[in-house]
């Protein structure tokens, strides 16, 4: 071959000749490696596997083993779930385009209605975001099971006007009269009365009076229960009943929280109490003034101790910091340095920025960058697995077509290439599957812990990971927003569906044309 190279005049032809010769040497080396020395080796004729049935069979057997090993991963729940979360970026786009952000719970609600399952209806009422739908489900759940009355309190935070109109808060206050949450919800409902059609109006004196009365009742209540532990119990019981295991459901538990208006109203009323305490102090009624401050601190402590949500704990510590800061100033004026220092210490401890917040979720153990990297690895591995599987499938069809009697010469010539594609793709498939499984496995264990507890995820790891999985890898957040705007706000809720349907149809038509051309090009016998 080398000697012939000097006879080739054209540089391009010379390059091709040299590359072909190098290929022959590589094939020979591969044959020696696989088949071993001393065996009556195969000199490939027209390709590595073209004439060597033994070598081809060995290669296909190895490829088959790799593909089978890859399929065995499907038996592992972490692997199946990894695939489920890996298609999340595309599903996320589809769900936004179809304005259906919680298809899982809507389907669960339909099944619960069919089975008249009060607990499942209650859980769907709590988890679905639409206020009208939640209210209807909550009402149905309580009608079927009156002990689920507490669900009204959770749904009322999202729909205060509906709760007021249907008399839910009065029912709740009769059922759980010591709970501070209920007068807070009442105050929120009163506020919603002067917010109509997107416009705030000035509250009437009567509304202001009722609001203050509700807030005073809340601040004087001996207990606080946001019922979120009951939500966690429902989650633990209901989801396994319907075989509903979705990491994104776990992530969405963070949405279960007190309404922000509860915090705003509490802060506003606390400010009013502290101000009135200051006025009493300035009149010389220091003890009464401090009682006002301590009532704010006590309410904050009640919230911090008994709340089950991030906002509840935040609200509790914030109110305590406000109260202790005021108490510090009061003791300073009195000249009581020891008490002033103690109040200062407490105010620092509960400070909203610098203080301790034991109720807040723990930080991520792996870190944000690790979560981003893992999310990209999971999405790409799943995509590559699907691609490699497709290559194996297509190459197998080509190999089978070329192996038939009377197969077209083109199909026969394609057999070595098809065999190599099968080998390479099976390796790629196995490697992608292993990568997908190992990368997702830690998150599977976090998810299992959350399923067992029914509560929100204790660390940020799964949350960060799933947040990053919602983004298409390689697309910047700005680009993603632009893509979403283009697709979601295109004017048609089914625009994305039509786009992907069109792409799929074009692909299918292309494949059909290829097959038709292949069968049409099959040569017929020439009769002289």
């Amino acid at each position: 071959m080398l000697g012939e190279l000097h006879q080739v005049k054209n540089p391009w032809e010379g390059t091709r000749w040299a590359l072909g010769g190098a290929g022959v040497l590589v094939k020979q080396a591969l044959v020696s490696l696989i088949m071993g020395r001393g065996r009556h080796g195969v000199v490939p004729d027209g390709g590595l596997f073209a004439q060597s049935a033994g070598l081809r069979r060995a290669a296909l057997a190895v490829s088959g083993a790799f593909v089978l090993a890859s399929f065995l991963f499907l038996g592992a729940p972490p692997f199946r779930q990894a695939f489920q979360v890996a298609i999340a970026p595309w599903l996320h786009l589809y769900q936004l385009a179809s304005r259906n952000n919680q298809p899982g719970f809507e389907d669960l609600a339909r099944r619960a209605e069919a089975r008249r399952d009060a607990e499942a209806l209650a859980l769907c009422a709590v988890r679905l975001q639409g206020s009208q739908q939640s209210a209807a489900l909550a009402q149905e759940a309580v009608r079927l099971e009156p002990n689920l009355l507490w669900v009204y309190a959770v749904v009322a935070g999202r729909a205060p006007a509906i709760a007021k109109n249907r008399g839910w808060i009065e029912q709740l206050e009769r059922w759980d009269p010591s709970n501070a949450l209920l007068p807070l919800l009442d105050a929120q409902a009163i506020e919603s009365e002067h917010f109509r059609h997107g416009v705030w109006t000035q509250p009437t004196a009567e509304q202001k009076q009722r609001w203050q009365c509700s807030m005073a009742t809340a601040f004087a209540a001996p207990e606080f229960d946001d019922y979120f532990d009951r939500v966690a119990q429902l989650t633990r019981r209901v989801l396994p009943r319907y075989n509903y295991y979705d990491p994104y459901e776990v992530k969405s538990r963070d949405l279960i929280d007190l309404p922000i208006d509860v915090f705003n109203n509490s802060e506003r009323y606390a400010g009013m109490l502290l101000h009135s305490g200051g006025e009493l102090e300035s009149k010389g009624e220091r003890a009464r003034g401090r009682d006002r401050y301590l009532s704010v601190a006590r309410f904050g402590q009640l919230m911090d101790t008994h709340a089950h949500s991030a906002l509840g704990h935040w609200m509790g510590t914030s109110l305590q910091a406000m109260a202790y800061r005021q108490l510090e100033a009061s003791y300073q004026k009195e000249g009581n340095q020891a008490e002033a220092r103690l109040m200062d210490y407490l105010a620092e401890k509960f400070d909203s920025v610098k203080g301790e917040h034991p109720g807040m979720p723990a930080e991520s153990a792996f870190g944000l960058k690790t979560a981003q990297r893992n999310a990209a690895v999971v999405v790409i591995s799943a995509l590559m697995s699907a691609c490699f599987l497709g290559f194996v499938f297509v190459a197998t069809i080509i190999l089978l077509a070329g192996s038939r009697r009377g197969a077209a010469p083109a199909a026969q010539r394609a057999r070595p290439v098809a065999t190599i594609v099968i080998m390479a793709s099976s390796v790629g498939l196995l490697f992608s599957s292993i990568t997908l499984y190992l990368t997702y496995r830690p998150y599977w264990y976090i998810f299992q812990t959350a399923v067992a507890s029914g509560d929100r995820v204790p660390t940020g790891d799964l949350r960060f990971f799933l947040n990053d999985l919602s983004m298409v890898p390689g697309v910047s957040p700005r680009g993603y927003s632009a893509l979403l705007n283009a697709l979601v706000y295109s004017g048609s809720p089914s625009f994305l569906f039509y786009v992907w349907t069109g792409v799929t149809l074009l692909g299918v038509i292309g494949l059909v044309l290829i097959f038709v051309r292949h069968f049409q090009a099959r040569p017929r016998t020439h009769t002289p």
């Binding site: 012939e4 000097h6 000749w17 000199v43 004729d45 027209g46 073209a50 010469p409 017929r524």
Partner: protein
């Protein structure tokens, strides 16, 4: 005598040899005559040589240039080529043109 499986590419090569059965042929010349690339042609030549259907010889060229390999049909190779080409002729499949004249 063991005969290798004859692929369509191998038949092309044997056909070129049969044009002048006693003549020594170079690899590049065969490549141009058959249209096969070096990566396809040389494994065929090596395989035929292995099965003693071809014989090979080195031919020295000018100084500084590597010698060239030449190939010729052996008597066995000639017999096999005749047989295989004869078998292949009735089975030659010709593509029908899309539009036939007459």
């Amino acid at each position: 005598m063991k005969i290798p499986r004859i692929s369509p590419e191998t038949l092309l090569v044997l056909e070129r040899f049969m044009e002048s059965p006693t003549e020594w042929r170079y690899g590049y010349e065969l490549s141009r005559a058959t249209g096969l690339k070096s990566g396809t042609l040389y494994p065929i030549l090596m395989r035929l040589e292995k099965y003693s259907l071809l014989e090979a010889a080195w031919v020295a060229t000018e100084e500084g240039v590597p010698p060239r390999h030449t190939y010729r049909l052996t008597p066995n190779g000639l017999e096999v080529a005749r047989t295989k080409l004869a078998e292949a002729r009735p089975r030659n499949m010709v593509r029908q043109p899309a539009f036939c004249n007459g």
